[in-house]
Amino acid sequence: MPLNIAGREFSSRLLLGTGKFPSGESMARALEASGAQIVTVALRRADLSGAKDPFANILEFIDPAKYLLLPNTSGANTAEEAVRLARLAAAAGLPKWVKLEIHPDPRYLLPDPIETLKATEILVGEGFTVLPYINADPVLAKRLQQVGAATVMPLGAPIGSNRGLETRAQIRIIVEQATVPVVVDAGIGAPSHAAEAIELGADAVLVNTAIAVAGDPVRMARAFRQTVEAAAEAVSAGLPMQAETAIPTSPLTAFLRES
């Protein structure tokens, strides 16, 4: 079954970020190899004036016919700033989808739950499709769903840390309670982390640093694509449940059925 976000279907469950690449060309090749259909771009890196600034031309490397361009509000510290950026992007002709990133702490880039909830409510009210980046907090995830978030995007570990699913137990609860797709974002440093998220029940993953700073971003993008596809296929095929204890091949209660 394809990934469905806000009524739009995507065959790829791998979303890509566009920061940290050694060049626009290298980013474009990695996007192609990843098979991603949703690509997020920091608005602060782009030229939103329409002047086609050659020194802020990141959008020129992303073909809007091939990818859903998902503007993100990285740089915003408050709901007010994020809302302003989202409106500006929409006014500049970008899709009315927004990956809400509000992280006032530049050190760990951890998202502010209060401002994120506030901004989601405002932007949903204005007709935006809102994909909020959050800490792996199940209650916040539910509150965001209540106000109309199109997905929730819990972090596995801080952005750029490549430490994998440190928040695994919380993500499991978020997945269990979700009524919208769950996209695990941040901290995914290896294809195995992405597979783990999908096998845990996440609907998709968003990867940036692990691909952008790899020795060969194109091959790494391909590796993520193959792994995410394999994990999704495994989930679809029916993963066996993990058991805490051994299950003996000769049942221990078989004697009850013996006569």
């Binding site: 920061g19 940290k20 050694p22 890196r45 740089g75 302003r84 530049p106 750029g160 640093t209």
Partner: protein
């Protein structure tokens, strides 16, 4: 509680994290330094990616009321040619930098309340911020309340170097003027954070005191600011003394190997802090250090007002005891603060970075985030809208 009240006790009894940093500065083998460099490079890539933020300084004025033994702008240097650019001259310099690609400009000025007032700085920012998305200031320290209008006008960052954390050396080198107040300067980053600056830069001018002692205090300052100024992106610089008017000579050595070791130690200890490398350093060293831990570089810099386009060259004068003295110096330019070493053009620097697998990032901030444009546009609209007639 400001850092000025804590620095002495922290240095006297360093916490474990600071002691670990200090150990990284001990003399070490080539192999150990190589290992540090590998860790530093990997951490930088992980946190900042394969990118390098580029910026340029724009000097507004070289007037100064301070007497600092090492600085070309020192008031004692009466022979130097001085000027304070008018707002439109500043705009012309900024336009030149913008055409070269810069979307991130550092406005620099000497300390002189008569020539470089808060109001003057505010007007500079208001004039530039629509064309230049990211504006930072490196000017005389101010009170929090005086910073507020500058932030509201669109200033994003503030840079203030302590110069030296060695109190004794500080008193010897800062002979007169408001800069003599060590503690006032030391608490400037906290006042800047309180006022809402998003980026705060600190640094040491290496060569004024023992480098390991300076670096340890610098790290202590960073640890403190990380806790207190938690919503500001911190950057750190480690400029080394360069030739300047006054002919001051470095008192303490700080060679390339020391410089590299410190750069790596800072990166390993502070993986998320921006590290700045200016054109004070020679091209070969900058090229070698670019992938090791640096995240911000200046390019094609001039350290004199009007240096990019010759603005203000017909208003040059000397300043003697606070008063302008006419000078017959047509055809010359204002005196620089210090001589730069890497004189390659911004385009050449960008090409060098690309050849090393690093993307030169010219723009990574949008003035819309702070909403100054929106506020300004609303204000202008209000001003243009004729007042409604009031009912009699």
């Amino acid at each position: 509680m400001g850092f000025s009240t804590r620095i002495d006790s922290i240095i006297a009894t360093p916490p474990a994290e600071l002691a670990a940093f200090r150990r990284m500065l001990d003399p070490c083998s080539d192999a150990a330094l190589e290992e540090m460099a590998c860790r530093s490079a990997a951490l930088t890539r992980s946190h900042f990616g394969r990118t390098m933020r580029l910026f340029a300084p724009l000097y507004l004025s070289n007037e100064c009321v301070n007497s600092c033994a090492y600085c070309g702008f020192s008031r004692e240097n009466e022979a130097i040619l001085r000027v304070t650019l008018e707002i439109e001259q500043v705009a012309a310099e900024a336009r030149h930098l913008s055409e070269e690609g810069f979307r991130n400009i550092l406005l620099v000025a000497g300390e002189h309340p008569k020539f470089v007032s808060g109001e003057y700085l505010k007007r500079c920012i208001e004039r530039l911020h629509r064309e230049i998305p990211s504006l930072s200031l490196e000017v005389a320290p101010m009170e929090t309340a005086d910073y507020l209008p500058l932030v509201a006008a669109g200033a994003e960052g503030l840079v203030v170097y302590q110069e030296t954390y060695d109190r004794e050396a500080y008193q010897e080198l800062h002979l007169a003027g408001p800069k003599k107040d060590f503690d006032w300067r030391l608490d400037t980053p906290e006042r800047a954070h309180e006022a809402g600056f998003r980026r705060i830069g600190i640094g040491v001018l290496f060569g004024l005191s023992d480098w390991r002692r300076e670096a340890t205090a610098l790290a202590a300052h960073l640890f403190h600011l990380q806790r207190v100024c938690w919503t500001s992106q911190l950057t750190v610089s480690m400029p080394r003394l360069r030739p300047a008017a006054g002919e001051f000579q470095p008192r303490f050595p700080f060679g390339d190997r020391d410089f590299t070791q410190l750069l790596c130690a800072l990166r390993i200890t502070f993986p998320q802090v921006g590290i700045v490398l200016s054109t004070r350093e020679p091209a070969t060293l900058r090229d070698a250090l670019a992938p090791l831990g640096v995240t911000m570089m200046s390019a094609g810099s001039h350290t004199e007002p009007g240096g990019y386009t010759g603005q203000g060259s017909d208003q040059l004068h000397h300043t003697v005891k606070g008063k302008k003295v006419e000078s017959s110096c047509s055809g010359l330019s204002a005196t620089e603060q210090f001589a730069i070493s890497d004189d390659r053009t911004p385009g050449e620097i960008a090409a060098m970075l690309s050849s090393r697998g690093l993307e030169p990032v010219w723009k990574d901030w949008d003035s819309a985030i702070l909403g100054n444009d929106e506020g300004k546009m609303k204000k202008e609209k209000r001003e243009k809208t004729p007042p409604k007639p009031t009912a009699c």
